[in-house]
Each structure stands twice: as structure tokens, then as C-alpha cells.
């Protein structure tokens, strides 16, 4: 148990000092996964292949071979990220038995860095939802309070010590809201910083892969590994390679912090003053408009992306009468859950001839406006701070409320990096997250501020 609770940074350190082995770490997290299987964090556990990889890693280490940064460290990835020869379900019945023929770039980078992939994590079906209640394989529970939701099995797994860190995806808060609900650190990087190649798209114009970890340092370590240009993703950014972990320091000196108040954001952000930052509240009256735009754009894109799941070449197929249209109809009806169907209906509505201009293109205009607003804000401020979500993790089964995501989606639409760090506790004593946003490709500033906040909070304890 204690071994599983190490941070990713500590686990690497112990491995390097030969105080533990990859096999021990892998066994420890798999034991956690088995012990808390009822949390339903994971869809597939690679017990055999993970242990095999751990043995190989230990052998390489014993032989004194050069080791990459994550050598021997067990991590998990969300089940919309492809790994060759393994199931990719996207938490859907439609892909229940689908095996991916190739590996996503982000996953390959983890593997190339020596990570042991232990599991594929539960999620909302194809990403449709933000409480992980729409999975065809049942909801993932919040380890802090299992009656409550998480926003993703990856967060549950990391919070429940079933891996040392995870690769999640974030379209409109997937990583950050999960982090907030489970008391973790979750980063949605700048759009394009991590390749989306091999990640089943929900909404390609906002989807981001990012790290979910228990500490800020762990987050920087995973970001170092996964970031980088990929010719297989045209939207992948060509940025000089950064060393986030190496350059990580708890520092906000001289930074100007603007706060969009809500929850405990203003009180929490005041903490940055102690580090030499100036903090001021800003007006940002666009949250509702942003949410509407987000829903319009992402449902349209999700509809389009999900059309390929047609039962013809792969995935669940129901022949019905055998007529082509019946194959489509029956396969998709049986394969998709309610939330996915709603998204598809909405996407079709948004893109229909009658609504294209007044829904989809209007939403794109709002997105453009938001981007311009952020450009202006970042001339004044280095960081913008808000709640990640202004409520505690909701109780499972409650009617979901799209406004939960209103703070999260602005960064998604603007394409800017945003991190959620544990902040205060809510009225029920559950963790809440502080969202810190920075201008594009300023992940280092973001991580440094997050580290400062994490240290300050530890100091309070």
C-alpha cells in the first residue's frame, strides 16, 4: 500500500536509488486496482503485459543500460487513447471488442520513456459527459466519496493509487474537473502541444491530451514526456522542446494574477501575494456565452467524428434485415448510449442547413471573440485564475448540469493551457480545484505557479 502511495517523482527516485523495482511498483498498483475494483476506474488492466514490461525494465536497469525518464513507472491511459494490439473501447458498447491496430503518439512517448502501461481507464462514452456516468461499463466512482462522481476513471485511478499518473483527455474540462473532484493536479496543455494522433476524437478543435497526477512535479514529468511536435497531427504545434520538470520552481514573483471570482477562487488566489505576485479581480462576463458556444461546436464535431462508428468495418454490428440502412440503424442504436445519441442529435441539429449560421458559425464567432478577449487579458496579466468547478463532486445519479463546466470550457475554446490544483474543501469537506490559466505555451509559468500554490497549501496544513 505505502509503495503505491508514492508520488511519481518519488517512485522514480526510489527506482534510481535501487530501493524498489518496477515489478514491486507494478504489483503494488495492480493490488490497489484489484482491492478497489468497485471504484470502476479501469476498463482494461494489463496485469500480464505490465508485469512483463516491469521485469524487462528491471533487467535493463540491473544491466546498467541507459534508462529513460519514466523507466519502470506504472502509468494509466484513458481508454480513448490507442495502444496497438489492445482494446480501445472509449467506454462504448460499440467498440467493446475493438482492438486498435496502432499506438497513439502520446502513448508511444510514454512507452518510449520507459513507462509501464498498467491500465486503460474508464471514461464517459466517447467523451459525451463530464461525470463519467455515461460509460457503457458503469460509472467510475470518486475515491474520496464513492457515492459521488468523478469526471473520469483516469482521475479515480490516480487518486486511488492504481497508477502513479495518467494520460487523460480534456475537451471541455475532462482532465481539470476530474482533478478538482478527486483532489488531483490536472493539466490541459495548450491546444496542439501534445499530439492527438491516435486519440479517438470527441471534438478535434478543442481536444487535448494531458497529465493527471497527484502532484505538480509529477505533472511536469509527464508533460515533458508527452509534449512535442508530431507530423501525424497537422494541428500539432512546432514549439522548441521545454524541460518543464527541470525548470520547475515554486515561483510567482512579479506575476500579475487576474481572478475570475467564484467558489473560493479569490480567497485562494490571494495566497499568490505572499510570493510577490499582484492579485486583482477581473470581470469576465462571458462564461454562459462560452458554454453555449462550446456545446454547439463540440456536439457538431462529435457527431461528425462518431459517424465512422457505423458497424461496417469494425465495432458492434447488428445486421437487422440485412439492408444497408438497417445495418447502420441497428448497429448504431445498439452501440451508442443515450448521452452519445443526444450529442449526435444535437450535432446534426447545429449543422443542419437551417441552423448552421445561427448555431455553429455563431459559436465559432463567440470562440473567436473569446480568443481575442484572452489576448487582451494576457497583455495585462500573466495568469488568470478561477474555480475549476464551483461545486464539489456531485452525488451520482443527480441530473447533470452543463453549467458545471462553464469555467473549464473558456480555456478549451481559447486553446490556452489551464491547470487545476487542489484548493479549498467544499461544504461537505470534499476537494475543490483552483484553475490557473496562462497564455499559449506558457505551461512553465503555469506549473511554477501551481507548485507555489501546492507548497503554500501544504504549509497551511
Amino acid at each position: 500500500m505505502e509503495l503505491a502511495k508514492l508520488s511519481l517523482e518519488q517512485a522514480i527516485d526510489k527506482l534510481n536509488r535501487k530501493e524498489t523495482t518496477s515489478v514491486e511498483l507494478t504489483k503494488a498498483v495492480i493490488a490497489q486496482a484489484k482491492a478497489a475494483a468497485d471504484l470502476n476506474a479501469l476498463i482494461t488492466v494489463f496485469e500480464e503485459s505490465a508485469l512483463k514490461a516491469a521485469v524487462e525494465s528491471d533487467k535493463a536497469r540491473a544491466a546498467g543500460k541507459p534508462l529513460w525518464s519514466l523507466a519502470g513507472v506504472p502509468v494509466g491511459v484513458k481508454d480513448c487513447i490507442c495502444i496497438e494490439g489492445t482494446k480501445l473501447t472509449c467506454a462504448s458498447k460499440a467498440l467493446e471488442n475493438y482492438i486498435s491496430p496502432y499506438t497513439a503518439t502520446a502513448a508511444q512517448k510514454l512507452i518510449d520513456a520507459g513507462a509501464v502501461i498498467v491500465a486503460k481507464a474508464n471514461m464517459d462514452e466517447f467523451g459525451a459527459g463530464n461525470r463519467n456516468e455515461t460509460s457503457a461499463f458503469g460509472r467510475a466512482k470518486n475515491p474520496v466519496d464513492p457515492t459521488r462522481v468523478t469526471s473520469g476513471g483516469s482521475a479515480t485511478a490516480v487518486a486511488a493509487f492504481q497508477c502513479y499518473g495518467g494520460a487523460g483527455t480534456d475537451s471541455g474540462g475532462g482532465i481539470r474537473m476530474a482533478a478538482a473532484y478527486c483532489g488531483l493536479v490536472g493539466l490541459k496543455p495548450t491546444y496542439g502541444l501534445i499530439s492527438r494522433h491516435g486519440v479517438m476524437a470527441y471534438s478535434g478543435s478543442v481536444d487535448c491530451v494531458g497529465p493527471l497526477t497527484r502532484t505538480v512535479a509529477d505533472n511536469a514529468i509527464l508533460l515533458d514526456v508527452m509534449a512535442g511536435h508530431d507530423p501525424l497531427d497537422m494541428t500539432s504545434a512546432k514549439q522548441p522542446k521545454q524541460e518543464y520538470y527541470k525548470n520547475l520552481k515554486a515561483d510567482v514573483k512579479g506575476l500579475k494574477v487576474g481572478v475570475v471570482n467564484g467558489g473560493c477562487a479569490l480567497a485562494a488566489a490571494a495566497g499568490f501575494k505572499a510570493g510577490g505576485a499582484t492579485v486583482s479581480e477581473i470581470k469576465f462576463p462571458y462564461l454562459d456565452a462560452a458554454l453555449g458556444a462550446y456545446v454547439a461546436i463540440t456536439s457538431a464535431e462529435a457527431m461528425s467524428n462518431l459517424n465512422r462508428i457505423d458497424g461496417i468495418r469494425y465495432g458492434l454490428r447488428q445486421n437487422g434485415s440485412g439492408e444497408l440502412e438497417d445495418v447502420y440503424f441497428k448497429s448504431r442504436t445498439a452501440g451508442f448510449g443515450k448521452a452519445v445519441k443526444q450529442t449526435i442529435m444535437l450535432g446534426n441539429y447545429v449543422l443542419s442547413k437551417e441552423n448552421l449560421d445561427k448555431c455553429f458559425f455563431k459559436a465559432k464567432k463567440i470562440q473567436k471573440f473569446l480568443q481575442q478577449e484572452f489576448d487582451k487579458l494576457f497583455k495585462q496579466f500573466d495568469l488568470i485564475v478561477s474555480p475549476t468547478v464551483d461545486i464539489e463532486a456531485p452525488v451520482a445519479g443527480e441530473a447533470s448540469n452543463p453549467t458545471d463546466a462553464k469555467y473549464a470550457v473558456v480555456a478549451s475554446l481559447a486553446g490556452i493551457p489551464a491547470i487545476s490544483v487542489p484548493c479549498c474543501n467544499g461544504p461537505n469537506g470534499l476537494p475543490m480545484g483552483l484553475q490557473i490559466m496562462a497564455n499559449k505555451f506558457n505551461e512553465q509559468t503555469l506549473l511554477n505557479a501551481a507548485l507555489f500554490f501546492e507548497r503554500a497549501k501544504e504549509g497551511v496544513k
Binding site: 487513447i81 486498435s100 492527438r196 486519440v199 479517438m200
Partner: protein
């Protein structure tokens, strides 16, 4: 009362890039089903498009060849519909921001047919129907296509076919496509409407995927007539797509479902828009070869060909390539032209293809023509040899030598034959003496018969005159 026919074309032309439009699979025709496929063009989860730069270049190249304006900014959209040959259930295409705008081509009549646009898109796969049922071959899925859209400027089936032939020739010249209609690499959607002169345009009917010049001509002719008949009967109809059945020679209505799609076009977020640098466009423009209409003018000016001859020989790249390449080793422009437009055309028409392919190598034809021009062989021999070497590309000089096909111009050898003929045909000889020229032909024919067509007719006449006038 007569009607005016209004026709617009949408031409789909597969580009001959090495790889597909958005993945690195090979773009080749005729491979075993589903060998040139990858997770990307199979539409598997997580795959993303990587735009083939050569496809963009070829589209611009085609646009420049036909006088389009090249867009500074160009972007891709998704066109949604479900069909098993379309793995992503959307086709990546261009609606709002096509690469090429405007342009056009001039018909022989001098009429300019305007283009609306040329845009880049991806092809779909193919359904294979067989005894086992229907299967899908996705080798073609994702192959880059250009769609060339005309304005509704064409007024007859003949104009449409002429336009298409000129466009095809231009595209072949640019080298962006092999334009093989038989392989479906060039196909055409036809929009036809009819109206009384002076009236507004009639209701448009579209027929998709016509794959030969004859189908296009027949479809337009049939459809225009059908619409006129309907209107004459006082009937009206709605804008629709009809299916052309080339075997029946008729167009048929399609189910509403198949024609009333809302394709839900919207921008493809995975493909970043292209900023087309003017310097890049200029660099492509510099590499454009001489276009058929430019070649036509040059042939008139430099070789003194008539307008008709120059137009005809440049009407297909296969003709002009053959012509120019024969001239390289045998520079007798008129003689070569006459032979190609006579004998070679006869052979090609006998084959009756849309896709002109001449297996005979120009240097071999040049050898044959030298033999013919130098009177080493007779016309009949030249024709026979053309047939023989058409595909084999055997050396005509060698054949003439091996089989002793050289024309008999030796007056001694011909004299013996002719003396015998005169002796055997006293009546004809008498007529000839009286100066009846028709009998000349009789003696030439008989001499040809006796020599296996190898006699030189001029020499025959010369010898004959000598014998008669002795």
C-alpha cells in the same frame, strides 16, 4: 417551339500523386482489394489526416493551366453521408474556400466556357458486387481528386463533349492526372435544364458519374429531350438527381432519400487551412508545359499547318506527343501529319476508346514513315506494317528486309510482268493504245496482284507506256 439546352459539368479527376491525400498509402490503380489501406483511410478511431502537399500542388497546377485565380487562403470541409465506401462517413472536400477560382477554356467556335472553381477533395472506395454479396474495396478511399465545376455555359451535348475533351487534354498536358475514363479516373456529373429562348432557366436535373464521352453525349441528348417532352405535355418537375443507365440509354428517377441529402458541411478542424504564398504559385506556374492551345498556334506558325490540322493534331495529348516525337527523327511535318491523321486515326477509331493510348513508339513510326516516304515501300505495305508493328514495336526496316517487302521499282522486273499482261489482255492493250486512261488502273492493279502489292505505281506506268508505244 424550340428549346434552349443549358448544361453545366462537374468533372472529377483523380490526381496521380504517389500517395493518398491524407495518409501515406500508395495511390495506384488495379491493386488487389484493400492492400493500399491503413488505419487512416480505413477511418479507424484516433486517426488524423496529414495533407499531401503534392496534391495541393497538382490542384494549383491544374488551376493555373486553365486560367484560374489561385486562392490566397484555402480550407477543407467535411461533407457527411453514410455509405460503406466512405470510411469516415464524411468526405473531406472544399466548399467555402476552394484552391482555384474562375478560369475557363475556349471552344473551337471561339466560345469561352467559364469555370466556377477547381477544388481538392478525396475519393471514396468502391463496392464490389459478386456472387458472395457486396464487398468494399478501400484502395481508392482517400485518393486525391480535383473537382472542376463549370458555369452553366454549355448549350449542347456536342459542346459538352468538346469542352470535356479539351479539358482532358489540358489536364493530361499538365501531368497531374492520367485522366483514364475507363478506370474511373476522370468522371463527370452533368446538370441539364431546358428553357424556351428568352425564358428563365428551367429546372436542373443532375446525372452523376458518367464515365465516357459517349455516355455524356447520349445522357445529355436523352435527358434534354425527355425534359422537353415533359414540358410540351404541360408537366413540371422538381430539381433532382437521375440515374443514367448507359445500357438502356435512359435516365431514371432516384429515390428521394438518395438525392435530398443535407450534407452538413462544416470546417474540418483537423486540417489546418492553407496559406498559399504567391511566390509558391509562381514557382508552379513556371513549370507549366506548353498547353494544347499554345502548341496549336505554334504548329500553325512554325510548321505552317492549317488551323484544322493544328487543332486536330493537338486535340489529344497522345496525338500531339506522337506527332512531335516522330518529327524529332523524321522531320517531314506535312507527310507525318497526313499519315497520323489518316492511318493512325483510322486505327484509333477502330479501337473506339475514350482514353487514347498509342502503343506504337514514335521512333518506330518514324522508321516506317521514312521507308514509305522514300518509296522503299508501297502505301499498302505501309498500312500493313502499321498494323503489324502497332503493338509489337518491331523494327519495320528489319521486317521489310526479312520478308522482301520493298517496293518493286526495278523497271526490268516490272517489264517482264507487264509484257505478259499486255500479251494476255490484247483488248485492254488496244484500249490503252487508243488513250483510254481507265485501263491504266487495270494494269496497275494486275501488276500489284502479281507483285504482292509491292510494285511502285509510278514505275509501272512508265514501263507500261514504253511497252505500248514501242
Amino acid at each position: 417551339m424550340s428549346y434552349e439546352i443549358v448544361i453545366g459539368l462537374e468533372i472529377h479527376c483523380e490526381l496521380k500523386t504517389k500517395t493518398k491525400a491524407f495518409c501515406s498509402c500508395r495511390n495506384e490503380f488495379g491493386a488487389e482489394p484493400n492492400v493500399n489501406v491503413c488505419p487512416g483511410c480505413l477511418g479507424m478511431p484516433g486517426t488524423l489526416p496529414a495533407l499531401n502537399k503534392t496534391a495541393v500542388e497538382y490542384c494549383i497546377r491544374a488551376g493555373l493551366a486553365v486560367g484560374c485565380k489561385i486562392s490566397r487562403y484555402s480550407a477543407f470541409e467535411r461533407k457527411h453521408y453514410f455509405y460503406p465506401d466512405l470510411p469516415n462517413a464524411y468526405q473531406v472536400s472544399q466548399l467555402e474556400y476552394p484552391l482555384c477560382i474562375g478560369g475557363g477554356l475556349t471552344l473551337d467556335s471561339g466560345k469561352f466556357v467559364r469555370l466556377n472553381r477547381i477544388h481538392l477533395e478525396e475519393d471514396a472506395g468502391k463496392l464490389l458486387h459478386g456472387p458472395y454479396g457486396t464487398r468494399v474495396d478501400l484502395n481508392r478511399a482517400g485518393v486525391p481528386l480535383i473537382e472542376i465545376v463549370t458555369e452553366p455555359d454549355l448549350r449542347s451535348a456536342d459542346e459538352a463533349v468538346e469542352f470535356l475533351a479539351k479539358l482532358k487534354s489540358a489536364l493530361l498536358t499538365t501531368g497531374v492526372s492520367d485522366c483514364k475514363m475507363q478506370e474511373g479516373r476522370l468522371r463527370c456529373d452533368v446538370n441539364v435544364s431546358v428553357n424556351k429562348p428568352g425564358d428563365k432557366w428551367g429546372t436542373r436535373i443532375e446525372m452523376k458519374n458518367l464515365a465516357s464521352f459517349s455516355a455524356i453525349k447520349r445522357a445529355i441528348t436523352y435527358e434534354a429531350k425527355r425534359q422537353m417532352d415533359e414540358l410540351d405535355k404541360g408537366n413540371t418537375f422538381v430539381q433532382a438527381t437521375r440515374r443514367w443507365d448507359d445500357k438502356d440509354g435512359k435516365s431514371y428517377p432516384m429515390r428521394d432519400k438518395e438525392t435530398s441529402n443535407d450534407y452538413r458541411y462544416f470546417p474540418d478542424a483537423n486540417i489546418i487551412p492553407i496559406n498559399v504564398e504567391p511566390s509558391y504559385v509562381e514557382s508552379i506556374r513556371k513549370t507549366l508545359p506548353e498547353m494544347p492551345w499554345e502548341l496549336k498556334e505554334r504548329l500553325q506558325k512554325e510548321l505552317g499547318l492549317s488551323e484544322y490540322d493544328a487543332r486536330t493534331i493537338t486535340s489529344d495529348k497522345a496525338y500531339s506527343d506522337l506527332y512531335l516525337n516522330v518529327l524529332k527523327t523524321f522531320n517531314e511535318p506535312k507527310f507525318v501529319l497526313n499519315f497520323i491523321m489518316g492511318e493512325v486515326f483510322k486505327k484509333l477509331n477502330a479501337l473506339g476508346q475514350d482514353d487514347i493510348e498509342i502503343p506504337l513508339k514514335p521512333e518506330i513510326l518514324a522508321k516506317l514513315l521514312k521507308l514509305y516516304h522514300g518509296k522503299t515501300i508501297a502505301q499498302a505495305t505501309a498500312r500493313e506494317l502499321l498494323d503489324e508493328i502497332w503493338e509489337s514495336n518491331a523494327d519495320p526496316e528489319q521486317i521489310v528486309k526479312d520478308r522482301n517487302l520493298a517496293q518493286v521499282s526495278d523497271s526490268g522486273a516490272l517489264e517482264a510482268i507487264l509484257q505478259k499482261l499486255v500479251a494476255d489482255n490484247p483488248k485492254a492493250a488496244e484500249q490503252l493504245k487508243m488513250g483510254d486512261p481507265k485501263v491504266n488502273q487495270f494494269f496497275i492493279g494486275q501488276t500489284m496482284k502479281a507483285t504482292g502489292g509491292k510494285a511502285n505505281p509510278a514505275v509501272v506506268l512508265e514501263v507500261l507506256n514504253k511497252i505500248i508505244n514501242k
